[in-house]
């Protein structure tokens, strides 16, 4: 199941409905392209494991 490719078109349609964002037909294909591109760029982050103790502060201070 883990390797099953998600249906991004359906995901975009349903998530947009859930948050009340109408996506006109002429924009839809490019939204899907951008969602897939985001998935590819985010992959290194999604694959890294973080310790449970690692939290983020509510206000970032360098």
């Amino acid at each position: 199941m883990a390797d099953e490719k998600p249906d991004i078109g359906r995901l975009v349609d349903e998530a947009a409905k859930a948050i009340g964002l109408p996506i006109a037909e002429q924009y839809r294909a490019n939204v899907i392209v951008n969602y897939e591109r985001s998935m590819a760029i985010a992959r290194p982050l999604l694959e890294v494991e973080l310790d449970d103790e690692l939290t983020s502060g509510p206000v970032f201070r360098p």
Binding site: L21, L45, S56, F60
Partner: protein, 460 residues
């Protein structure tokens, strides 16, 4: 000294000339407005020129009503800075229909309090979600070194106006690289200060977690003088530091003695065109920097910066995406829409990773004071170019011009871009990265390179 009325004059040249009475501020403004008028049909850096206000301010200076280290210096700001009486466009058509700013942004007020004169608002990529300098509503800003090429973005007008010699000083914003990319492609010195060092009050936001403001100029002394004038706590920006100001102009002359300089390897030594790495090698040779340091997990940092940007930026614009999708630039609209749909768990993980990465990178600063890295993977691409080949892989230009800047702004480190110009070639910049609140170290290295003739930023 350079003629203060010429396009080659730096901000400090102009300020010295006005302070000493060699030239009137009114004459400086007249010369500036003439240059803007002549350059704009080609360069397209400005969206608003406020000639009446600038002339009024210059007349006040000539009557002795204002003082300061930047006396009589014309400057312009990316049009996401509030300018009293104008809508804050932020590169968009939607905001142009919005309310007019009731007062100037905090940094505009600080520069004018130092004697500088605002002359206008500058073109930018829509809502700062851009690395190219292109804009469907206002047209692209054009690179003065080759007007068929991109300025880089999103502070494209800031890069173009300074590189064309229209003004000597401009302000931009940098969320993922938007000061550093145009500084590199337009051949300018640029400063992205530490996150929270300069107030962002009175500027239109993009990604609160990463938004920085800073200057672009043709000399390191101008970066330092403007940075010094803009420092200081501001209760109107909750992120702005309450640390005391740390003036840098007076330490520029200290050179590089005592500074330990490393060169970023690994992620920052691959994935770009040869000219990006040649520039770093040239700077490293000039500084006798041989210590290669690996910034750990930089690829993950870039991924995390991308996720936070997409989700925060899209959340900000969700009401406008619902109400006026047709009025967005086509190059931002579908990216914002996709970003609005990304999982919240990605955002939280990216923020958790950010804390870990900050701690790991700060360990490097026990061994070095500054780190050198490419600013962009290539020189300026052609206007309209969509794809480019890096390391044999075809990649979108728009997402990848910030390949080397994103992992640095992700944790708010201060960076100065030092530009290198090859005869007959296009300029390209090198990032000089310092530890938090140590802008002075990066500026000292940049000044040394400028003094030695390695880095320079001549008007095109």
């Amino acid at each position: 000294m350079t003629d203060p009325l010429s396009r080659d004059a730096t901000a400090t040249d102009i300020a010295h000339a006005v302070m000493s009475g060699k030239v009137k501020a009114a004459a400086v403004i007249d010369a500036t407005l003439k240059r803007i008028e002549a350059a704009e049909p080609t360069i397209n850096a400005f969206t608003d020129v406020i000639a009446f206000r600038a002339r009024k301010r210059a007349a006040e200076i000539d009557r002795g009503l204002h003082r300061g280290p930047l006396l009589g210096v014309p400057f312009a700001v990316k049009n996401l800075f509030d300018i009293q009486g104008l809508p804050t466009r932020a590169g968009s058509r939607i905001n142009a229909d919005g309310p007019k700013a009731a007062r100037d942004g905090a940094l505009v007020r600080k520069l004018e309090a130092a004697g500088a004169i605002l002359v206008g608002g500058l073109n930018m990529g829509e809502y700062a979600y851009d690395f190219t300098g292109e804009n469907a509503h206002y047209g692209p800003s054009r690179n003065p070194h080759d007007t068929t090429r991109m300025t880089g973005g999103s502070s494209g007008g800031s890069g173009a106006a300074v590189a064309a010699g229209e003004v000597s000083l401009a302000l931009g914003s940098d969320t993922n690289g938007s000061i550093r990319v145009p500084s590199s492609l337009c051949g300018l010195f640029g400063l992205k200060p530490t996150y929270g060092r300069l107030s962002r009050a009175g500027s239109f936001p993009f990604v609160d977690a990463f938004d920085h403001l800073g200057p672009l100029a043709r000399s390191v002394a101008d970066l330092a003088a403007s940075f010094d004038a803009m420092q200081g706590w501001d209760p109107d920006d909750p992120v702005c530091t309450d640390r005391p100001a740390d003036p840098t102009s007076m330490v520029l002359g200290e050179g590089i003695s005592g500074l330990r300089i490393g060169v970023a390897g690994d992620y920052f030594a691959r994935g770009g065109m040869p000219e990006a790495f040649e520039a770093v090698a040239t700077v490293a040779r000039a500084l006798d920097a041989k210590n290669i340091v690996a910034i750990p997990q930089a690829a993950i940092a870039r991924a995390a910066a991308y996720v936070i940007t997409a989700i925060e930026g899209s959340q900000l614009h969700l009401p406008r995406l619902r109400a006026r999708p047709q009025d967005f630039d086509p190059d931002t609209r579908e990216r914002f829409m996709a970003g609005a749909l990304l999982p919240g768990s990605w955002y939280v993980k990216a923020q958790r990773f950010r804390r870990h990465y900050r701690a790991e990178v700060q360990k490097l600063f026990r061994e070095v004071d500054v780190i050198l890295a490419p600013a962009t993977p290539c020189t300026a691409p052609k206007l309209g170019q969509v794809m480019m080949t890096l390391d044999g892989v075809e990649l979108p230009v728009r997402a990848n011009l910030g390949l080397y800047t994103q992992p640095i702004s992700f944790i708010g480190l201060p960076v100065v871009v030092a530009p290198l110009h090859k005869p007959g070639g296009l300029p390209i910049g090198v990032q000089i990265i310092a530890n938090h609140y140590n802008e002075a170290a990066a500026l000292r290295v940049a000044r040394h390179l400028e003094k030695e003739g390695v880095a320079s930023a001549p008007a095109a």
